[in-house]
């Protein structure tokens, strides 16, 4: 009886520790710089422009998570390795979490900035609505997973769904919202990375902030993958033990 092979360990412990240290130090600095740094004085936005450092990285994290999730779904379809399916699931989960945080922070920002005094929490900004649609699509991924009991069937069907889901991401977050009037920048070109859109002093906080939140997303994702790996090892061990027992009975 071939004993079920142990899946390879998901991540180098040293790499994980290094990223964790860098993320903790960088994000602490960003919190301080985000509050205390100089920003241009603009009408309407006023001090709320500092939200750029915290709201926008949520969406970078969402996009990275969806791409990672789709990558592992494709690898699952190629190899049938269950760890790939678990990685896809955990990446999609982190995408949902960061996307949800992005939606909520955006709502609060708009409510007290552009819609101050109106009581409008949800203003049907195209980007906001499309982001909500994207989160529903990824919510559907988990509903689909929970609806199928057989692991292999679940993995395959969920992986195919996930590949379709990721294709909608650039359209829902970039292409469609930029065709319509919106509070979000981007209708007139590429925001934030262009030469004139973002004050130089803010770049020194914004870009590291994006990287640091991507790192935080990766850390949380890796934690979940390590837990999923433990579960998988124990599952295979239990399967192996069951096989051994049956063989002994014969």
């Amino acid at each position: 009886m071939p004993s079920p092979a142990q899946p390879p360990f998901p991540v180098g412990r040293r790499l994980y520790r290094v990223v964790r240290g860098v993320v903790v130090v960088t994000l602490t600095g960003i919190l301080a710089a985000g509050f205390l740094g100089q920003i241009p004085q603009l009408d309407i936005l006023e001090q709320s422009a500092r939200n750029l450092y915290f709201h926008v990285p949520m969406w970078f994290a969402l996009m990275a998570a969806t791409i990672v999730s789709a990558y592992h779904s494709a690898q699952y379809l190629r190899s049938g390795d269950r760890i790939r399916d678990l990685r896809a699931r955990e990446a999609a989960r982190l995408g949902l979490i960061f996307g949800g945080l992005g939606i909520v922070t955006g709502m609060v920002w708009a409510r007290f900035t552009w819609y101050e005094g109106t009581g409008v929490w949800w203003n049907f900004d195209p980007k906001q609505s499309m982001a909500a649609v994207l989160l529903l699509i990824y919510g559907g991924y988990f509903v689909l997973r929970d609806a199928i009991d057989a692991p292999r069937t679940r993995g395959r069907i969920a992986a195919v769904y996930n590949l379709f889901a990721v294709v909608t991401m650039p359209f829902l977050l970039y292409i469609l919202p930029r065709q319509m009037p919106s509070l979000h920048p981007g209708g007139e070109g590429s925001p934030a990375f262009s030469q004139t859109d973002l004050a130089p002093a803010m770049r020194w906080v914004f870009y590291p902030s994006v990287l640091a939140f991507l790192g935080l997303c990766w850390l949380l994702y890796t934690q979940r993958v390590r837990l999923a790996w433990l579960q998988e090892v124990l599952r295979r061990k239990a399967l192996g033990a069951a096989h051994d027992e049956r063989d002994g009975d014969r």
């Binding site: 360990f9 509050f35 390590r226 124990l234």
Partner: protein, 121 residues
């Protein structure tokens, strides 16, 4: 696309995505709204004398309060933004502590599973 934009009397343009048949509660603006001025108070509402006893400021306050010292002076600068920063940093410390604790627990479990597998082989 521009021809379909219909602005109301305040220059607000309703969303192209969601056009409501009746009075829209949510409107999409191109020009952001400014907070409307508070409605003017009627003269009798302005400052009834009956509330004077509850005022927290005394008209005949003579001495200046002593300038804050030490930590109070630092934290009170720039509209007390440092207080907010302190709160956010405390929350962040809590989240980081949770991250590290969870890592430790996962590592302990991993070692246990590794050991039990090598014992089996």
């Amino acid at each position: 696309m521009k021809e379909t934009v219909i602005a109301d009397a305040h220059g607000r343009v309703s969303s192209l995505l969601f056009v409501f048949p009746f009075r829209p509660r949510c409107v999409m603006t191109i020009h952001p709204l400014r907070p409307s001025d508070p409605p003017a108070l009627r003269p009798e509402q302005e400052r009834p004398d009956t509330t004077a006893a509850y005022d927290s400021t005394w008209a005949e306050q003579s001495e200046e309060p002593p300038p804050p010292e030490g930590l109070d002076r630092i934290m009170g600068q720039d509209g007390k933004i440092y207080v907010v920063l302190a709160v956010v940093l405390l929350i962040w410390i809590g989240v980081v502590a949770l991250l590290f604790r969870t890592d430790r627990r996962i590592e302990r479990l991993e070692r246990r599973v590794d050991r039990s597998i090598s014992e089996d082989e």
